[in-house]
Amino acid sequence: MSGKDSFVKFENVDKSYDGEVLVVKGLNLDIPQGEFLTMLGPSGSGKTTTLMMLAGFETPTSGEIYLEGEPISSIPPYKRGIGMVFQNYALFPHMTVNENLAFPLEVRKLPKAEIDEKVHKALSMVELQDFGTRMPLQLSGGQQQRVALARALVFEPRLVLMDEPLGALDKKLREQMQYEIKHIHENIGITVVYVTHDQSEALTMSNRIAVFNDGKIQQISTPDVLYEKPDNSFVAQFIGENNQIKGKVKSVNGKNCVVVTDNGDEIVSLKVNVNSVGDNSLLSLRPERVWVNSDKGDYENSFEAKVEELIYLGDHVRTRVNVCGNNQFIVKIPNSSDHSDLKEGAKVKLSWKAEDTRALDFKA
């Protein structure tokens, strides 16, 4: 049970608050030691509830959670030894930064000298060693965030949980903190479970990402797989920008299939989440995998399109075109001399590969 593969293990966990709606449905999840796992999903998808069950603030309605092989559902939160960074930091406003950091150590009745040393070490880790005597409210948002992080790590927990810790910071600071958290994780090798609804945050920091929706994990994988090979239309939509084309499966040919769009175009695509001929399907195609007026011949799909709108974004031009009956189709065109002649209303030829076109489930 307590192998390296399941440092944390969720086994058939259900959670309901009112006895009518399941917030988390039959969750199974294994987190190996030292992993940075992110739970990503829209609000109400069950990711925070899952985190709260792990922290001990919510109890699973059924199923069991194991930490290092031990079932922990009946262990109260203060005996779990799990660190946590809260969304609004939850720094104690009546204590100085030092006192906040010393709190978990004093509770564990460590000798005074050891406490001082550990507090200093933790503050140095987040580069706030000169701020120990300040009150939390005298710090900026980013500094408070770091104190919260230091406090969650100072007592050397087995596992640290983070509940949208960067949500209140501005964009630039958020990006900086993402790298800092990532580096701290790499340096001390602690297991991290991170909750966010921000996909770029998840992609930047995580070893693996579990995409939550509707109380279930839709897909759990490394960031690159999740982005490039989404298993279903929700994941494809939720992560990154994505072109969607509705259609029906016309024929299946090995790992590929042919999907007919509403206006009759036939698109060769990778069969991912469709079963048989006649199924509805939503095709997913990343905007950067489409080529404009390319003369290379190895594309399975090639269609004529009309340029509807050009949006100049510096390094690339975001181009909205009408193709296969979809006028919201986006193509990212690198800002190179090749395409400087594009005009709104112009006819262009778009080409893309079958392997980049993922035929996914379609829910009407």
Binding site: F57, P76, Y78, F86, A90, H94, F103, P104, R151
Partner: protein, 418 residues
């Protein structure tokens, strides 16, 4: 050529100094703000500052008696306080008693009676009998009318009235008095009533504050943490008594607490106490404390609630997560954050309790009277407004001292009503 002076005042584009221009622009706003505040200022002045000033004045004011016996006191001041005053003092006293109208002399003799009881009846009797005295010397004739005129104690008592201000009321308010030589001494044992009442007032107020805190804290905690649909119901339960007349609530308590009342009956029925040993829960200090605690409870709950509402639940979660047991987390994290509410509620309840008088009046009996009851008694029954004012001023001073102490220990900035 046209070099600007850097150190000179900054000018606006039309050449007026910026500060002047700003003042002009702000003036209208200032006037408007002042006019908006004016009615409140006037109201506070008329209904608060002037009455308090009047009370403070009254507590030391001794001018009235000086307007009745101006000449007598003038001559009296020269007396060496040995034996009896001179014939001259008797004479002016005789004349001024004759000149004073009924109402005037009545009020003056009441004042004289505060210093030495007996003055009032002496004056009253003398007024009638002095009519027979036609000419001097007056001394012997006056003593013949009533031999108290020949008693130096009465004359010496006048000594504390000859100044237009007196501390006599304040001394009285703390069970002290002037002796016949104007030295401060303690009241005779059987006349000491106020110190005892002061101590009881503070004791009852303190106990009521503690009990409201003990009862109110868990309620406020529940109010602040329960889901809205339950906390609203609970809030109505807290406020319902608030909307009921104070008298109705007090009378309801009288029905419950009497010796033949609901509570004692239930206890006897349950066999917990014997019929002959029914508890005395009313007409004593216990009754005052029980009823005042209930009546003042909302004043504790509401400030506590509004402060607790602002304490993020994540503090407790964080404390638990960091390894503190629920009790430890509460004591080290939640409680310190609720201190502004405890302070505000505590101060509010204490201030209201210290001046309370209706409830002690109705359920306090002889034993449960507070200083407010004495103030009301002197205000309505004895009409000794000077003493009322002195008692009230002591109350005010005590409150200021408490406030100062509180500010020293906890800090006024810690009071929060939400």
């Amino acid at each position: 050529m046209s070099s600007e002076t850097i150190s000179g005042p900054i000018l606006t584009s039309d050449g007026i100094p910026l500060k002047v221009s700003l003042k002009k622009a702000e003036r209208i706003n200032k006037i408007r703000a002042f006019l908006l505040v004016l009615p409140l200022l006037a109201f506070i002045l008329i209904s608060f500052i002037i009455p308090i000033g009047d009370m403070l004045t009254r507590s030391v004011d001794d001018r009235y008696i000086n307007t009745v016996f101006p000449k007598t006191f003038e001559i009296y001041k020269k007396w060496d306080k040995q034996g009896l005053p001179s014939e001259e003092v008797y004479k002016t006293m005789f004349i001024e008693i004759g000149e004073a109208k009924g109402f005037k002399i009545g009020k003056a003799s009441t004042r004289m009676n505060y210093s030495k009881s007996g003055w009032k009846s002496l004056i009253k009797k003398s007024q009638r009998k002095f009519k027979k005295i036609k000419e001097g010397p007056y001394k012997e004739q006056m003593i013949a009318v009533d031999k108290r005129w020949g008693d130096p104690i009465y004359w010496k008592a006048l000594g504390e009235m000859v100044d237009p201000t007196t501390f006599g009321y304040y001394l009285n308010a703390v069970d002290l008095k002037y002796d016949s030589n104007k030295k401060v001494i303690a009241q005779p044992e059987n006349r000491r009533i106020y110190m005892h009442t002061w101590i009881k007032t503070f004791k009852v107020s303190l106990l009521v504050t503690i009990f409201t805190l003990m009862l109110g804290y868990p309620i406020a905690y529940l109010l602040a943490t329960l889901p809205l649909k339950y906390s609203n119901l609970l809030m109505i339960c807290v406020l319902l008594p608030f909307w009921t007349s104070l008298l109705v609530r007090t009378v309801a308590w009288m029905i419950i607490l009497q010796q033949k009342g609901v509570f004692n009956n239930l206890m006897v029925m349950a066999g917990l106490i014997a019929d002959e040993n029914r508890w005395k829960l009313m007409y004593n200090e216990t009754g005052t404390i029980i009823v005042m605690t209930q009546i003042l409870l909302p004043f504790m709950v509401l400030p506590l609630y509004s402060v607790m509402k602002t304490i993020s639940p994540s503090y407790m979660k964080a404390a638990l997560n960091l390894g503190a047991s629920p009790l430890h987390a509460f004591w080290k994290v939640y409680m310190p954050n609720s201190i502004p509410g405890i302070s505000a509620g505590g101060l509010l309840v204490f201030i209201i309790a210290i001046g309370y008088f209706i409830t002690p009046e109705l359920v306090g009996g002889k034993d449960g009277q507070m200083i407010g009851n004495w103030i009301a008694y002197h205000l309505k029954t004895t009409l000794n407004w000077g003493l009322c004012a002195a008692l009230g001023s002591v109350l005010l001073a005590v409150m200021i001292v408490f406030y100062w102490l509180y500010n020293k220990i906890i800090g006024v900035e810690n009071i929060k009503l939400g």
